[in-house]
Amino acid sequence: MNATEPMKAIKGGEFLIRETAADSIFIPEEWNEEQLMIAETCTNFLAQQVTPNLQRIDEQEEGLMKHLMDEAGALGLLGISVPEELGGFGKDFKTSMLVTEKLGAGHSFSVAFSAHTGIGTMPILYYGNEAQKQKYVPKLASGEWKGAYCLTEPAAGSDANSGKTRAKLSADGKHYLITGQKMWITNAGFADVFTVFAKIDEDENLSAFIVEKDFEGLSLNTEEHKMGIKGSSTRQVFFNDCKVPVENLLSERQNGFKIAVNILNLGRIKLGGGTVGASKDVITASVRYANEREQFGRAISKYGAIRYKLAQQAIRTYASESAVYRACQNMEEATEMLIESGLDETKAKLKGTEQYAIEAAILKVHASEVLDYVTDEGVQIYGGMGYSAEAPMDRAYRDSRINRIFEGTNEINRLLTVDMMLKRALKGELDLMGPAQKVAGELVSIPDFGANDDDNLFSKEKKYIANFKKAILMVAGAAVQKLMAQLGKEQEVLMNLADMLIELYVSESLQLRVEKLVSLRGEDACKEQLDIMRVYINDAAEHLAKSGREALNSFAEGDERRMMLMGLKRFTKTEDFNTTQARRNIAAKLIAENKYCF
């Protein structure tokens, strides 16, 4: 296969070394009628049941969150991705992501929803035996039972496998007795079933157990007082010789860490979708306020400073969304291929998702940081009212912050992004060496000053993205060569590399989306989307250049350093254009539509 030939489907992590064909990706402009109806149901549910009650939810009014979950269950929203034979609706991954995105604007409710449908249900659905699935999954899919997931402990957060919770077999061999303490457990206050991770005896690795709330020896602490998502139930869960029937061991002994990691892969990309939904909601509130609020005799949306902010909010959100659904489609296609090759559906889903664990980590980081940016600017657009607890930005700002912490902190996810990429290269699954050597060769040869193929609307951006790949291969290749085994300890360099990979993946996804959109609707109908793409990629080039310089300056020396810095400059060079006008165009569309409209 020619490395430059666009591929129909690329493997996880291959975006660094291969091109993707625009027509092979899924773009959110392609939702079908049924998916749009499902999305509308989610939007109406939030508008009617959740948004008017946000204050009551945050005050943790007795029974309210449970009631809302029951209502979501009655609408079928808790069983979207559960197979029909287990009481769900068997919808594909993209559709369940769409639901997560639409409900992502639900503040604490969306946390309860995501925890229940994700980490609360998926471990049993994916790793349970037939009896376990039949017993628990239909009740979770309907909402009759609520789910929670107990992994984190006071001394075991990012280092999840170091947990101290222990399980031992009872004398009669009928029960495991679990003892330990779990913390930050979402939905704990009203959950009926918990997936609990503990080590059996002196095992090296965790095992997972299905624990019902009424099992003897389980108790709950009071609600945590948190900065945001105040309506989400978060408690410590204590296990004191908690009696768990042996048949409630999930999967095999010591398979718990693998379960935890794989479920988190799913959770991460879902968090990406949820935060995109929240960002869109905050942008709509920001645009409406900017159109209503007048200062110096004009709506503040007429001022360039505010227009810049609105445009930036939309640019970043649209970019994130492009990458989320591109990865979703990849996961779905990989799963289908695995099913065709004979794997059963559940295993295929897990393996298909795992294959794109790099992309999942990237999306978790990007989308959560976009939401923080969007809410921060939302507060600023609201001005004094942004700081008032009476206006919506207060809650949005506080609730956003947790997304950079849970489902693996963004730092852990950045480390994982690079770690997984390098491990796959070492295993021979990803050929980074060949392309990296080619780039190294290019550095010492005469630069290609050939003109761009300007007859294509996207040729410039495609060239930039191809160069971004070269920049990363050059910096990463040099880092591996220079630092070797030390690289794992040079976390600053790993963070730089992760940032470069994130910008590349999102830039490419955005470019492909806009290319496909233009092919579907024509250039005239996509003017603002083209502006979004151009501004984002222009900014991404600067971010890549900065991260690359920081990394190179930390480990390279002398002529080699100078040569690589020159190479980096060449690989992150973009043609100047009027970004101010482009942002004005994007903002004008938002202002005219009075909502997020891309």
């Binding site: 009628e33 509308e40 209503e292 009075n594």
Partner: protein
């Protein structure tokens, strides 16, 4: 008891209306369409409630429009209804629309025909009455409650300053408004079932429109909204006096 519910497609309430062809038609590009809320929230949901109570046996939904209205009629089916009928014609004229529906309804025979009190786009509010006239059925307008028992309907309706309760034998046409039922959200089961429920496309009967729209005119832009702190009543009074000039 067989119920026919009339469903109209209308632009979403937040749509920014743009005119074209020298202001003689509305530009439909980029417009999001919804079920007319009076048809959906009140007429359709009340029909579904009557079926859930075992009073109605079949609910048919009918709309007049070209193929582009099908997403809206399928959305209505996702709420409930056994089958849908689309009269394959474009019409902005109430007489023409009522005529198409009446021709179909006369063939099938319905005990109760429900429609919204008006559509929120053209706001004529007369299709129901015309339909009753054409079918020679009784008509009650602006209903806020409908109970049916043994072929007799007891209907509450709003009148100036109060409420009136009517009794009428079926068959009957009723236009519905707020209060008659609570809005429902389509659930997953309904959404998935909507695909499998029949949607019949029927050729329109020969009826000529009585009116033609010559041109449209957009309302003048609304004045901007001013936010005033609840603690600053003086500013409110001042603005009501000096700017709004209502006091």
């Amino acid at each position: 008891m067989k119920i026919l519910v009339c469903i109209s497609q209308v632009p979403d309430t937040s749509t920014k209306i743009v005119l074209k062809n020298n202001d003689t038609s509305v530009n439909g590009d980029g417009v999001t369409y919804i079920i007319n809320p009076y048809d959906e929230w009140y007429a359709l949901v009340r029909a579904i409630e009557l079926k859930e109570k075992g009073i109605a046996s079949d609910i048919h939904l009918i709309t007049v429009g070209k193929a582009n209205v099908e997403p809206v009629i399928r959305k209505a089916l996702s709420l409930g209804g056994d089958e849908a009928i689309r009269i394959d014609a474009d019409s902005n004229d109430a007489y023409e629309t009522a005529g198409y529906i009446a021709a179909y309804a006369a063939q099938v025979g319905y005990d109760l025909i429900l429609c919204g009190k008006e559509s929120i786009d053209y706001n004529n509010g007369i299709t129901g009455t015309m339909l009753a006239g054409m079918l020679d059925m009784d008509y009650i307008g602006f209903a806020t409650d409908i109970q049916v028992e043994a072929g007799v309907a007891v209907v509450k309706r709003e009148v100036e300053g109060g409420e009136e309760t009517d009794q009428c034998n079926l068959p009957l046409v009723i236009s519905c408004q707020k209060g008659i039922a609570e809005a429902r959200i389509p659930n997953m089961r309904g959404i998935m079932a909507a695909r499998t429920r029949p949607l019949k496309v029927v050729e329109p009967s020969k009826i000529a429109a009585l009116t033609a729209i010559l041109s449209y005119e957009l309302p003048p832009a609304k004045a901007g909204i001013k936010m005033i702190s609840p603690d600053d009543m003086d500013q409110l009074v001042d603005l009501l006096h000096t700017e709004a000039r209502v006091i």
